[in-house]
Symmetry: C2
Subunit: 229 residues, 2 copies
């Protein structure tokens, strides 16, 4: 994030770099010859603990979840990733985060090791990695605030608005929710039943309308009010 700001200023006559997604594309394009397309069926693992550091992926279509396993079969879902987003670019080698396909997923796989090695002698690449990592950090902190201080209904409202923001750039109002209630629960630190009940409750008060493939946001202002609780 901060790197992006700096870029815009072009200190010391540094050439302007393309911003945001454009920047990502221009960086990854250099590694396109070493990449390959991957298709993963629904509910399959994209990577296990083994090839942790070997690859990273760009999501072309579908939805991905990142999963961390805790003792006792409990799991924490870090995030849901959508087309255009990157997976595994910023993971430390220590943490064992798995990634699984929520829906059928099409990916492009890049050689992470090669990218990191190249970054050793390439400032632009290093700055890009920094920007990506800082972005992740920012959203991780937001999630911490959510988990630490929000009530169930607040968590769910926040989640719906977040999905709304990222997933539907065209078709307004309707949010696809391909993940299960259990997935949402493990993302928000709730039980499946609590997610269910609150979703139904939101429908009762007319804030949303549930359907099989997703959810229709009827009252974003109402959601926003609930989201702070």
């Amino acid at each position: 994030m901060q790197a992006e700001v700096q870029t815009r200023r072009s200190p010391n006559g540094t050439p302007d770099r393309p911003k945001g997604d454009l920047w990502t594309r221009s960086v990854l394009d250099r590694f396109e010859p070493f990449s390959c397309a991957v298709a993963i069926p629904r509910a399959q693992a994209i990577r296990g603990r083994a090839d942790q550091a070997e690859f990273c992926w760009r999501i072309l279509s579908g939805c991905v979840r990142t999963v961390e396993w805790l003792g006792g079969g409990r799991r924490q879902i870090g995030a849901f990733l959508w087309p255009g987003e990157l997976l595994g670019i910023d993971d430390g080698s220590e943490h064992c985060t798995d990634a699984e396909a929520v829906t059928e997923v099409a990916l492009r796989r890049y050689p992470r090791r090669m990218i990191e090695t190249a970054a050793q002698n390439d400032t632009e690449l290093a700055l890009w990695l920094l920007t990506m990592t800082a972005r992740e950090l920012s959203s991780a902190r937001q999630h911490i605030a959510l988990l630490g201080h929000k009530t169930a209904i607040g968590k769910i409202a926040t989640f719906l608005l977040a999905q709304d923001r990222r997933a539907t750039s065209f078709e307004r109002r309707f949010v696809e929710l391909p993940m299960s209630r259990g997935d949402i629960a493990d993302h928000l630190g709730l039980s499946t039943e609590t997610v269910c009940r609150n979703l139904v409750h939101l429908q009762h008060i007319g804030t949303v309308r549930l359907s099989s493939s997703g959810i229709d946001l009827r009252d974003r202002v109402g959601l926003l009010k609930l989201a702070v609780e």
Copy 2:
């Protein structure tokens, strides 16, 4: 983190870089001429939202808390920082995180803007920033798992062990806890009373011994078992 690993390998004949804290020192030493010493009294703000991006600090002595304000006077304490740790090096410009002195604090203040500008043309600097940010991200994710899936006693046990790991490198067994119960509560997503009760409970079962300035860890193994709950 990943950058550090790469460094050890020295791909492409890249010169080895000092690791960990040594690396941090060697990087910051370059900016020493532009730094200055700061002393902050107990309970005072180190930075507000205003000078968000202007500076970063290295903690020389004392304990610092990072605070994010949510609606309704609620606050989330992101972390407690101890001597040797850095404050504000990896914050995005968007997020409004304050920092306050838990105890009297001595700091060295560095020009963050200058560092970031320099990183635009300095790969080592950029990689160092990347390493720092990735480290933050890693611990943020650990905290997410804690907040999402651990019970009160598990959160507190985890917290005590974490403080033990970082704060006391010499004096074994005893952990200083200069922060208030309320601080701990806002860090772990609990109420003051719950923190209190569980701390007392740990004392009752002989796992710890409370004192005015901190806590004596009697049974680390026991704590470790509780920490997964």
